[in-house]
Symmetry: C2
Subunit: 173 residues, 2 copies
């Protein structure tokens, strides 16, 4: 199937927002999504955006059952390793189920790698859930390392009250 990958624009935020929810349903955490398409527009498409995004688009004649032509997205941002330098972090990679098996996911992943290399990034990183073996196998087959397995890295998060408590205890200038 023919598809095109291009940089997302503000006008894509409704489609991206719809697919963020579809991905959260797949990840079994749909009630966690608090971000609206208006917030995506503000956070990704104003000055000093927090993220960049690519979308995959199919021609009108291949539109989805629901009538959509934007059928996948990859949302990423730049991070930094104090050992190796600039890196790109792939926060979300998603292709609608009826479009899988056409190389769209691989196309999005490779395009993010290409964008990252152009920005001098030396790494492309992402996170995946333990039980999500299709994704873990997909990345492993492409040469990725699982650092949680090989080096024992754990993810730590402060949010809500614990984050407020930290901020309130910050030393005064």
């Amino acid at each position: 199937m023919h598809f095109r990958i291009r940089a997302a624009t503000k006008e894509d935020c409704k489609d991206i927002s719809r697919m963020i929810m579809e991905l959260a349903v797949y990840e079994k955490m749909p009630d966690q999504v608090k971000i609206s398409h208006e917030e995506l527009e503000r956070d990704g498409f104003s000055q000093n955006p927090f993220f960049e995004c690519l979308v995959a688009e199919v021609p009108e004649e291949h539109k989805s059952e629901g009538g959509f032509t934007v059928v996948g997205y990859a949302l990423y941002f730049y991070t930094y390793s104090t050992w190796k330098g600039p890196s790109v972090y792939l926060e979300d990679l998603y292709v609608m189920p009826e479009y899988r098996g056409n190389g769209i996911g691989k196309g999005l992943l490779c395009k993010v790698a290409e964008v990252g290399k152009k920005k001098q990034c030396v790494r492309l990183q992402l996170s995946v859930l333990n039980w999500n073996t299709p994704s873990r196998d997909f990345y492993a087959a492409k040469g990725a390392q699982d650092l949680t397995v090989s080096e024992g890295w754990h993810f730590i998060r402060f949010e809500g009250q614990s984050l407020d408590d930290l901020a309130n205890e910050a030393p005064k200038d």
Copy 2:
């Protein structure tokens, strides 16, 4: 002991670079550090910096055995959750061994939380090695969640040849 936490400047990069190496030695991977202080200056202190950094400074009369007054640092950048919005990621938090136990590490952590909250961040995230129980306990005591344990998130990384391979397979525009 009196200490002051302030935003790092370009002139601090030699000190930061020295402490990055000290932290890598503690993490048992000193041969992984490829970033020089010149690269830190370029990546963090030019237009569109990849990171921000705070340093902890002690008065001249408390300088270290090696003669240093910059004795700790916290290096961080902004990330984005498509579920919750802007987040701050603490890449490195380090205090020189002879200055530990004075609240400097906690001060740096809280200051990063405060900076993040000012930027509307809803999360502060970081990674820690499995065997590093002092750090894991420190974060847990402050209310952090270990997402690798509670939700099963794994870190995945492409670098070197596997990253080049991806980029080379990117679909042409």
